[in-house]
Amino acid sequence: MLGANDIAALWLTAQLALVTTMCLLVIGLPIAWWLANTRSRWRAPVAALVAMPLVLPPTVIGFYLLLWLGPDGAIGGLTAAAGWGTLPFTFSGLVVASVLYSLPFVVQPIENAFRSLGRAPIETAATLGAGPWDRFFTVALPLSMPGVITAAVLGFAHTVGEFGVVLMIGGNIPGVTQVASVRVYEQVESLDYLGAHALSLTLVGFSFLALLALYLLQGARGASAFAREGRQP
């Protein structure tokens, strides 16, 4: 039932979601840590900026990204000067857009996890001789693992589910920027309902399984399913 273009779109979607999730964790962990611990007056503005994609229409984000990343944009000029070309209508452009768009879905669960840790574990680690990096990786992160896993699943699923931003910044180039959601849109536009069904049902199934896994994992948290993962030998 799934054609070659459908498979290509699904594969591209999976790649995009995976790369985006990894970038989101790398970027999101320090931002979440800073937001959870800082007393800076910049906390509120930064938190608001991170949360913006929750509120803004994806087309607005896509529109400005298109301008900034394009050849005449501030960032586009830099990437062009650096020899990387411009990002719109490329896979890299999709990653940048997806990372921005899914940032709150990753930062907020991790920030909440860090916040609910309180100061006690970090202070205890400090009095036992652990420096700041040591404390983060051996205490804060393992104890916040449920939040981090939630964030990763949400980031991944949200990236799979995005449409407006990828359409604006990536267009609809099969095999390059045509992700599953855009492919469904194209099939519906061309009245290929059977193809749309096949791909849509695949996405429905995936979304349900991803969320089911998330809730099962969260339910198991009481039994410390995550807590054991950080155990040292």
């Binding site: 400090a126 009095t127 036992l128 051996t138 104890l143 950080g230 155990r231």
Partner: protein, 362 residues
């Protein structure tokens, strides 16, 4: 030697802590005072965990705080056991202990097995920490603090979070800790019996200020602040010289005489501390006949002070080298014509014994 001159509190905060003291480089110093006096804040400041801390702190020749410059907490060789100690949930008991051991600043003999034995942790090593009882958690936390190889041990009411029935499970380990430590110990407590039992010096905090600092016998015997009013009394260092097991009594001797005290589990030669509450002491000019009171000490009046109760006076009687407090009415003081230097007989109705633990020579 611990040189302590710390100030904690932001300019805007209502509570500030200011403490200046020099603690000896060994032995147990009790930090005593009512809740809200700043006991925990003092310990956190010494551990490097308090915000807005300034002043000077030198421990074993190493400067931990100099003005506003503070050595970060993780660089201070301090063993800190909080009131409800936090164990890392993501590690088992052995993992918690190894966490501290790996980060011990100074390499040295591996004390892991020794401390596991001392705190009786063998059977717990593979256990998850959320399956431990309060007393077990406390033991793990104490062993973990020592594995860090601290130069100073800070204990914040280590038994207060454990219910009374379980306390006896932990107290022997605490004694072992104080004996084993070989380093100065600062021990926060609001329990005067604990202070009598464990401490060499006592540092009394009131509303963030140092109210008294000195040897336990000296400070507890003369301190007159409100928190001591109900439990005011004197503390005497003594030695057990006889046991009358048929009466469950022990005879203890000190420079001013001897006392018979209800006691069990003591042996001749034990070093003890005797605590005599002021309300259990009456005064007379001569030894009365036919009294049920067996403990009679002769001394001279060293001071007569007012108390918070208008009717009552506190009379300090010097007995040998020790001081005994008596709580009597002003009328009694007048009718006996007591004044400084008067010879009196102190009638001690009852007293409590505590075995001396820790590092003080007997």
């Amino acid at each position: 030697m611990i040189e302590l001159a710390l100030r904690v509190g932001s300019p805007s905060s209502a509570f500030t802590l200011e403490v200046n003291a020099e603690c000896p480089g060994s032995g147990t110093t009790a930090v005593f005072g009512p809740s809200g006096a700043g006991k925990t804040t003092l310990l956190r400041a010494i551990a490097g965990l308090a915000d807005h801390c300034s002043g000077r702190l030198v421990v074993a020749g190493e400067t931990w705080q100099d003005g506003r410059r503070a050595m970060p907490a993780h660089q201070r060789a301090v063993g800190y056991v909080a009131q409800t100690p936090l164990l890392f949930d993501h590690l088992d008991v052995a993992g918690n202990l190894r966490y501290a051991q790996r980060r011990a600043r100074e390499p040295g003999a591996d004390r892991f097995d020794e401390l596991v034995a001392l705190f009786d942790l063998e059977s717990l090593l593979a256990r998850r920490v959320d399956a431990l009882s309060g007393g077990e958690r406390q033991r793990v936390a104490m062993a973990r603090a020592l594995l860090r190889r601290p130069r100073l041990l800070l204990l914040d009411e280590p038994v207060s979070a454990i219910d009374a029935a379980r306390r006896d499970e932990v107290l022997p380990y605490l004694d072992a800790l104080a004996r084993q430590a070989g380093m100065p110990v600062l021990y926060v407590s609001h329990d005067i019996d604990e202070v009598v039992r464990l401490a060499d010096q006592v540092l009394v905090l009131e509303a963030g200020r140092l109210a008294r600092f000195g040897a336990v016998t000296e400070v507890l015997g003369t301190h007159t602040a409100g928190q001591f009013a109900a439990s005011a009394g004197s503390v005497i260092d003594a030695r057990v010289t006889g046991i009358e097991s048929q009466w469950s009594l022990a005879t203890v001797a000190f420079s001013g005489g001897s006392l018979s005290v209800p006691a069990s589990g003591f042996a001749v030669g034990d070093s003890v501390r005797v605590r005599i509450l002021a309300r259990d002491v009456s005064l007379a000019l001569a030894v009365p006949e036919d009294t049920s009171i067996q403990n009679i000490l002769r001394g001279t009046v060293a001071a007569i002070e007012d108390t918070l109760e208008p009717a009552m006076a506190r009379v300090t009687v010097r007995v040998g080298e020790q001081l005994v407090l008596a709580r009597v009415t002003h009328r009694a003081v007048a009718s006996l014509s007591l004044r400084r230097g008067s010879s009196v007989v102190a009638l001690v109705k009852t007293a409590a014994l505590a075995r001396r633990r820790g590092s003080l020579p007997g």
